[in-house]
Amino acid sequence: MAFESARSLIHSSRTMNSLFLYVILFISIKGFAYPDYAVRYNNISCTSCHISPVGGGPRNVDGKLFGAHGYKVNSLLIQPYVSADFRALFYNPQRPSSSKGGMGIMSGSIAGHVPLDAEKKIHLVIEQNIAGFSAAPYRDTYALFKLSDKLNSNWFESILVGRFRAPFGIITDEHRTYTHIQTATEWYTFENGILLSGTPSDKWHYDFGVVSGENSAGQNLNNGGAERSGALINFRWMPGAILFGVSGSFHDHEPRTDSTKAVALYSILSLARWTENKIPVSFKVEHARAWNWNSNLGRGFASDPNYVTAVGHANSLGWLAELDWELSEIFTLIYKYDFLQPDQNYASDIYDRQGIGFRWMIGPNTMIQVRTETARATVPSEANGAAQGAQDSTFAVLQLAL
């Protein structure tokens, strides 16, 4: 990378004057995205900001400071022992119902995390849901054993034992991209088991997990599609301003023909890094295929239970694409596209949606995310259903993270 001028790296914050105009223009939008930071800042390891090697969840001090996005932050809030995440949602669907639409607490969780030994080799993390649709026991709850202190040069970096989010596909904090619904790896879905992670160089990283099969949705510890043992693998390679990844999951079922499998290929391109910040854009794309996972569509996605039963054991196909345009340190425009074909034998039966929105950091670790989207479901019994995937909507999320 050759900077023609150091000045091009420096940014002035005259944006506030124009933010009001943005809000007027894009009042009905929303978005999320953080793995692009890994590519932009050449940092393939999620533990630079998060405690878990999978990413997401409780953050370390550097993660909290980075999340302040240039705002001066109360030093009492920047400590290594407690993290929290609260989200309030305003949701305005095309066909609101008594249970869908309006304003409320979307989610809330609080986490405690401490190193147990003086060398900080063993970390204990307990994250509790306390509000919202995932108001039930535990999110990230595990013991993390650090096998090495070296930075990005460890074949065996850590072993995690406990309850963790699946290292599958592009990890964002959007709770339900179609590819993650399709593969039962949503934002609120966790696995229980053992996870080995490594970052042999600053160009590649892997996760390998053996799980109990108690894949669950945050409401309890044994509710979910998988019933027996399973395995997860995730591998990502970042040769430069682009990252490539591949993920796979398998959960054994009885009978064996019901065993669930999923694979994902994904990539993240940082034009900001590639063009030395001249084009502050990142692009993410993910392609997922899953076998026998469609019962997950019944967890609040599809509105027709007969359709969910009919495609329950089908092979599905999905796409996620997202473009993020950072207009300033605190304001990002987002375009996002989801596609889901629940049964590859019936290619005309699909869900898709696209939306445009923004993420506006209004304070340290505090943001407003807004999006308006158009959605389509071509299955006749779903087309006019109450499911979010079948109707246009506008929603806004106010998020506070500590």
Binding site: A6, T15, L327, S328
Partner: protein, 93 residues
């Protein structure tokens, strides 16, 4: 169609009114080289040789930080000189 119109408006707004895009350094060290928190250093008016030496140490691995080390590995010698000169020539706050 409405997305196309919105896209055009965005471009107009971006180039007509908005600030320059965010940068790699300023995300942590502040828009004017003044860090917004006590954990990360100010770069504004720092000595050029000191900045060069630290960046080269991060790049080589002689000094290690989870955030800075990967960033420094993206820099060429010319980048390091330009950055060090730039921040050192800024007026002290």
């Amino acid at each position: 169609m409405k997305f196309l119109i919105l896209g055009i408006l965005i471009v107009i707004v971006q180039f007509g009114f908005a600030a320059t895009p965010p940068s790699t350094c300023t995300a942590c060290h502040g828009a004017q080289g003044i860090s917004p928190n006590d954990n990360w250093p100010n770069l504004r008016a720092q000595k050029s040789e000191y900045l060069s030496e630290q960046l080269k140490m991060f790049r080589s691995g002689a000094r290690v930080n989870a955030l800075m080390s990967p960033i420094a590995k993206m820099l060429t010698d010319e980048d390091i000189k330009n950055l060090s000169d730039y921040f050192s020539k800024m007026k002290a706050p």
